[in-house]
Symmetry: C2
Subunit: 315 residues, 2 copies
């Protein structure tokens, strides 16, 4: 039985939204998967009862503390040893669950990723990524989206490899096209960072590097499946897309392309390059967003993503 | 009489689109403004005749050469001494015209800006900017959008001042709100460049600095009128917006907000921080795009933008 750990106390509307999202996920996960909820057992049972969901559909690990958004992530991760996130990462590190997802403190999730499950050997700096919709109908993966805002080219080149493995293993894209986000298509274009990254990725074996991609093609789907950029640029791209999604929605322009831009449908932000599947959700996650975050976590587990990444960076 | 110089040979569809755009601009410019066309006089007259436009509505400066997109900008600017761009900048430098606009070689336009009219004393590096629409109905100015992709904080801080003067003088926004594009609103957020720029702009006198703006608010109009970023990020923002505009249009989602995103309506890219108004248009400019580029140039001239910038950077 595959076990998906879920922080029932994570997010602005926990535990209600988190538990309701887990109930929604039940319909979609594989028969061989089981969701393990970490949190206040009494409150979890209350939400399940209100939804007429039998408690035995889940494993519940009772925890007594919560890392709040205002807490210092690293200090709280230590000090609140019985928090849902700290306990969840304990289970993940010892192999009692196969992946962990939370819409709680992003900082604490990163602390757990870096210090409990730890970076994969050979990965300079783990990354957070996001899926964006494309006009071609299939999603593209963009990374980094905010973890590493001052990146060396060697770090960005690794993101090309990590993204390629994710796109193939989890998204099912054979031989995914990897590109560097840049201000022009020509290889001589760009800032020093993008040019050096381009040079490294051109020589990288095992990936299908297609060169530079301009901002105009991020969402076209015509050029690349995996888009590499530093966390400053990636975060700006992602937030700008979210802002335009909201404007477009307010203007009444709904359609499948823009709906896929809605964070609720994106399925959370995978932390990539650490020794277990970890997925972080928006703090404001709705039950639907939680459901999709859980499905992303399950996909990472079923795709055996961690082993594939570990093998790729093994000397 | 105020004189607006226009390169009739600039752009993929010149001279037809350029001259037709100039004819369209006639209806919109001030009675005290006159357009000076630089280019192949015979072909200009042919286009005017085809449009039933009397030749005497324009000044025409006959030139015999054209700097092509494939030409090396700096070399061609020198070698093609009778090109429309080189002659146009000659007129601009000697004060025979008050501003110059072209949809031709961007590189040659920058060579002319830097070496014929030259940077304003005190400006470390001139910049190119662009207007973006906002959901609030008024435009925002974003700079730099691609000229300087590796920027020191001192350069970016000057862009805050330049943008503020432009927004007030040309866009008519009193006390425009100036922000640094960043990955979080808190002043401790960001990469090294954004943090240092934030610190410099916070101490900058004469502008209304409102702190950081996230990507989600570039198009909201709620936070800032002037958005400062390096040319790598700004170019990505602009091209991403263009790409989403095209996708949205293809999906049938037209409305005033998205229409304002159309490059044809943006009015070209002003070069800011040089000793005369210079505006660069898209290579693929339609007559409408040319018309709006000419109107932007006229606005810069009428606002006395250059003098205001010169005074701001005078010691």
């Amino acid at each position: 039985m595959l076990k998906i750990g879920v922080d029932a106390m994570g997010g602005d509307f926990a535990p209600e939204a988190a538990v309701e999202g887990a109930v929604m996920a039940l319909e979609a996960i594989d028969a061989g998967s089981r969701i393990v909820l970490f949190g206040d057992e009494k409150r979890i049972r209350e939400v399940l009862a209100a939804r007429n969901c039998p408690t035995d559909r889940f494993d519940i690990v009772a925890t007594s503390e919560v890392i709040e958004m205002g807490d210092h992530p690293a200090k709280a991760f230590q000090a609140k040893g019985d928090s849902s996130i700290t306990v969840g990462f304990g289970y993940l590190a010892k192999g009692a669950i196969d992946g962990f997802a939370s819409a709680g403190s992003t900082g604490a999730m990163m602390v757990g990723s870096m210090y409990a499950v730890k970076p994969i050997e050979g990965v300079i700096r783990p990354t957070i990524s996001s899926l964006v919709p494309t006009a071609a109908g299939h999603p593209a993966l963009i990374l980094d989206v905010g973890l590493n805002v001052d990146c060396k080219p060697e770090v960005l080149a690794q993101y090309g490899v990590i993204g390629s493995i994710y796109a193939e293993a989890v998204l099912g894209i054979p031989s995914p096209r990897v590109a560097v986000l840049n201000i022009g298509e020509e290889e001589t274009k760009g800032n020093a960072q993008a040019k050096a990254t381009h040079d490294l990725l051109r020589e990288q074996e095992g990936i299908r590097f297609v060169g530079n991609i301009e901002g105009s093609h991020i969402f076209s789907g015509k050029v690349a499946d995996v888009i590499v950029c530093d966390g400053f640029v990636g975060n700006t791209v992602l937030k700008m897309a979210e802002g335009l999604y909201r404007i477009n929605k307010a203007l009444g322009g709904g359609n499948a392309f823009w709906d896929a831009m809605n964070y609720e449908n994106v399925g959370g932000t995978p932390v990539l390059g650490v020794n277990a599947p970890v997925v972080i959700g928006h703090g404001c996650s709705s039950p639907l967003a939680i459901r999709n975050m859980i499905l992303t976590t399950e996909s990472c587990i079923r795709a055996d993503l961690t082993s594939k990444l570990q093998r790729a960076f093994r000397n």
